[in-house]
Structure formats: structure tokens, C-alpha cells
């Protein structure tokens, strides 16, 4: 397969999907990528709901601010945090970290199979949780459409490494520290 660098470059957010089913084995491989993710204290505080029903996908698109491509995708995975209260010692909430690792592995596993995804954070938490019948102490983390891309890749601009890396201390240069 591609090198991991190539895989990362292949992954992109897809906002238009073909009307073409996703093989079950590929859906399983994408879920398996989440299953293999590391999590703080190996708690695996996640659950994934696979939505394929057309009416339910349409309703999810509506809940995601009328983003119609959510309904276009033949599969929508709703990622759920099953613990949402724990804060790590470093004062950062644990669930967005654990869930993000799992979802990142999913989107990369999807990209490896030529499948597109789009990590959606634009939805009403309460409305989505009610529609998906999520328990009160859980939280919907993201809505992730999954399918074959119908749009053209758009390269997002990235800041150069020199703008986001320093040495030894924040803002420290390589020269000052060697």
C-alpha cells in the first residue's frame, strides 16, 4: 500500500458522495480501526452507530444544519462518547481525546479503501442525541458520512513547519539551543 505519508495526503474531507454502496467488509474494517485505537487507561469509552436507513440519514442531514451530503452518503457512522465527565491530570477532558484517536484511525482506514468521510461538528447535540436514542450520560461526538467521493479534491493550505515548531522552549529556535 501507500506509505503512511501518502495515505495522510490521500485523506480529505468529502462533501459529495456517489450513489454506490459500501461493501460490508469495508465498513467493518473502518470500525475495526476505531476498535484498535489506544485510549487513556485503555477504557475504550466509545460506541458507534451505523446508520444506513435512507430516512434516518435524511434526518441526520437535517440535524447537521441541512448538510445534504450527509444523506447522500450510503453509510453514516455516529460516534458516541460513553463517558463524558473525566478530566485528565493535565486538565484536559479525556473523551474528546479518546474519541478523536478512534475517529482519526477510522478516516484513515476509509481513505486507504478509497472511501471519503467528513468529520462533522456542526449539529445540535440535544436534538441528535434524542433522535439517536443516546443515553443521558453519553454524548454524540461526531457524525461521519462514509462513501465514495463524487467531488474533486481541494488541497487545503497548510502552514509551513517552521511556523509551528520550535526547540527546547516555546518560541525557541534551533540555533539558540544547540
Amino acid at each position: 500500500m501507500d506509505s503512511f505519508a501518502e495515505l495522510m495526503r490521500k485523506r480529505r474531507s468529502v462533501r459529495s458522495y456517489l450513489d454506490k454502496p459500501v461493501p460490508c467488509d469495508d465498513i467493518r474494517a473502518v470500525l475495526e480501526a476505531a476498535r484498535l485505537a489506544p485510549s487513556a487507561r485503555n477504557r475504550q469509552p466509545w460506541h458507534f452507530v451505523v446508520v444506513t436507513d435512507e430516512r434516518r440519514r435524511s434526518k441526520l442531514a437535517e440535524i447537521c444544519g441541512q448538510q445534504q451530503f450527509v444523506a447522500e452518503a450510503p453509510v453514516v457512522v455516529v460516534a458516541v462518547a460513553t463517558e463524558s465527565e473525566r478530566i485528565m491530570t493535565c486538565d484536559i477532558p479525556a473523551y474528546p481525546v479518546d474519541l478523536s484517536i478512534a475517529v482519526t484511525q477510522m478516516i484513515l482506514a476509509a481513505a486507504e479503501r478509497g472511501l471519503g468521510t467528513c468529520w462533522i461538528g456542526y449539529f445540535d447535540q440535544e436534538e441528535a442525541a434524542k433522535f439517536m436514542q443516546i443515553p443521558d450520560d453519553h454524548k454524540i461526538f461526531t457524525v461521519l458520512p462514509l462513501g465514495y467521493p463524487a467531488d474533486e479534491p481541494v488541497d487545503k493550505e497548510r502552514r509551513p513547519l517552521a511556523d509551528m515548531v520550535s526547540f527546547e522552549v516555546f518560541g525557541g529556535s534551533r540555533e539558540g539551543t544547540k
Copy 2:
């Protein structure tokens, strides 16, 4: 290279490191993996401090609750969130998501090169930020040692897929929905 599934299985948390330098090109490739990460609205709200100085690594080990392997690793990357206030529409804070995607790509890029990492959330935020000279409105996201593993792989147990996946609604079975 390995398939992505093999790469995910190869990645593990390493808590003992060889006294063997990490080539600059590999450090660069690991940082490049963060640079390529997607982020909400492409804000790329991150900064990475590469620490190689031995005394500074020792101090970081101390700040991370005396986890001595932090000092053992020849390189420690301190990942910093440069925005820590933004909340997404879905009521989830944005910075742990953006930073987690970047760090996940880093740990996988490291694993591809035979390098070990350990995602550390056990440190005092205030003490670490002061030591690393982090601006007040930033937050240290994780301390990530990077080096060649000296310990034996331990397989962490994972829940089976059937325990973490349902269909159409939370708790829904495949049978009920098809």
C-alpha cells in the same frame, strides 16, 4: 509498507527507550504528519516544541509525575494548543479534537519508522506551561517522548466490535433494522 491495519497494530505505548539518537529526518517526518492533519475550519491551532536537551528532558520527566522514561527518550515533543476556548456547535471543545488528530498522525508516523511514543496526560498543566514558557492563552496538550523502544510489546485487550457497534439507533441490532 505495512497496510494501515498492520501499522495500527504495530503502534503501541512505549515506556522504556534505548539510548540511541533519532535521525533528524525521522523527527521531521513525525512533525510533518502533524502538519498534514485536518482541523476544524483548517485553523491548525497547534505548536510543537522539540526538546532534546538532557536536563530539560529530566525536568519534564519530573513534571510528568517522575515518569523516568520521559527523560530516557532522546526526543520529547511537547504539543501545544494555541487556542483553547473555542467550542464547536455540537458542544464539544475544538482544541482537544484538532490536537488529537495531529498527535495521532504523529504517533502512527513514528510507528511506521520503528519509533515508539507514549501519549502522556499525567502532568501539572501550570508547572509544565511555566517550564516550557507557554503563552497564557495556550495550553500544553500532551508530552510525547519519541525514541527506539527498549521494552517488550504488551498487547492491550480490546473489547470486541459487537460490544461497541449498533445499527440505526443506539443499542439497535442489525437484525432489527434490515
